[in-house]
């Protein structure tokens, strides 16, 4: 008489056996005590495993983990805040310099009103800027009004971008 093996019993438990095979098996175990006994043992093992329960984790686990992850999170946030503050400060400073130069710069009057001359062109003189930067005369020679304007606009755009990003995150 051919006996069934462990692989078959496992397939029975996982319901991977066809109806015909099952029928043949049940006919077989009516006669075969060894297979019947083995199948019952596998069934008991399976039933026992189905009663597997969760093991309760220690209650303090949440606090311990949160303590560990909150520190880097706060540090990261502070670094970001510091970066934004420095950037804002720099931009405001540059804007102020640009404003002062544009408003009061120049020893020779060009006419016109406020920031514009008679022809409607933007009035910009680097004399004050040159005075401020006189210790760095070689650098000041490289700086043209256009480049100051460009850098200021660029930094303002970066500042606005970061402020928008920060607002979105909060």
């Amino acid at each position: 008489m051919k006996h069934y093996d462990e692989e078959f019993f496992n397939k029975m438990l996982d319901d991977e056996i066809t109806a015909e095979e099952k029928e043949l098996f049940f006919v077989h175990i009516k006669e075969c005590t060894a297979c019947r006994e083995q199948y019952r043992l596998f069934q008991s093992a399976h039933t026992l495993l189905l009663s597997l329960t969760e093991i309760t984790a220690p209650e303090e686990i949440n606090n311990l983990v949160l303590k560990k992850i909150m520190k880097p999170a706060a540090k990261k946030k502070n670094e970001k805040r510091f970066f934004i503050t420095v950037l804002s400060g720099l931009t405001v400073m540059l804007l102020a310099i640009f404003g002062i130069v544009a408003k009061f710069g120049g020893t020779e009057p060009k006419g016109g009103n406020g920031l514009f001359d008679n022809l409607g062109n933007f009035k910009f003189d680097t004399s004050i800027l040159n005075k401020i930067l006189s210790p760095f005369s070689s650098i000041s020679k490289l700086i043209s009004p256009d480049s100051v304007l460009l850098v200021t606009l660029l930094l303002s755009s970066i500042l606005v971008f970061f402020l928008i990003e920060r607002t979105k995150k909060n």
Partner: protein
């Protein structure tokens, strides 16, 4: 076979309106919680911890067979999950992704502990108590838990992982294969061997009638 899939639809994206600052007081799905944590609400991570800590602890303890180590590894797993949350794309369920972290971290711990510890554990296998101290304490349940504790102690870490994920978490062999980074055939072999080990234990101790 009778097996429930506890993880079904856990990651379904719900069309909820814009959230308030935290998710407390509601029952959000995993993806909503993850989104909130990514937005900076770190404390919302405890929702995920509450959801998975018992299941993860069961898996770790059954693999490691040492409560102190299991507690340490559980903490590591959650910290790792938090650190790598940005790499979770949502392609798979959060549970599967997290169990992969749990399984790999536990394996690393086992490797670190070296073979001596494993041998020591196997030698005292049947005395290792990894039952749930908060579980039902009726005589029949105690006997079942004692038997299960003895069985799990006799299993290899991989067998214990498969048994836990299959019977406790209700995962399919395919899902388990993904977590263990192996093929379905291997998972089935591990599962069948675990059953055979328990069957032999029942036979050896003549517990067949008691368990009926």
């Amino acid at each position: 076979m009778i097996k429930t899939n506890n993880l079904e639809n856990k990651n379904s994206v719900s069309e909820t309106p814009q959230r308030t600052r935290t998710l407390s007081g509601r029952k959000p799905d995993d993806l909503e919680v993850i989104r909130s944590v990514r937005e900076g609400n770190t404390s919302d991570f405890s929702i995920l911890m509450d959801r998975y800590k018992n299941k993860a602890f069961s898996l770790i303890l059954r693999m490691l067979k040492n409560r102190m180590d299991a507690e340490e590894v559980l903490q590591d797993c959650f910290v790792k999950a938090w650190k790598n949350l940005d790499s979770f794309k949502g392609d798979s369920q959060f549970a599967t992704w997290f169990y992969r972290i749990v399984y790999n971290t536990t394996l690393t711990k086992l490797t670190g502990k070296k073979r001596e510890t494993e041998k020591e554990m196997l030698s005292i296998g049947e005395d290792v108590d990894i039952r749930d101290e908060h579980a039902d304490t009726s005589a029949a349940t105690l006997e079942r838990n004692r038997l299960l504790g003895a069985l799990i102690a006799m299993l290899t870490p991989n067998q214990a992982a498969v048994v836990n994920l299959f019977y406790l978490d209700g995962l399919s062999c395919e899902e388990i294969a993904g977590i263990l980074d192996t093929n379905v055939g291997n998972v089935k072999t591990l599962l069948h061997r675990s059953r055979a080990t328990l069957k032999n234990l029942i036979q050896k101790k003549n517990l067949h009638e008691e368990l009926r």
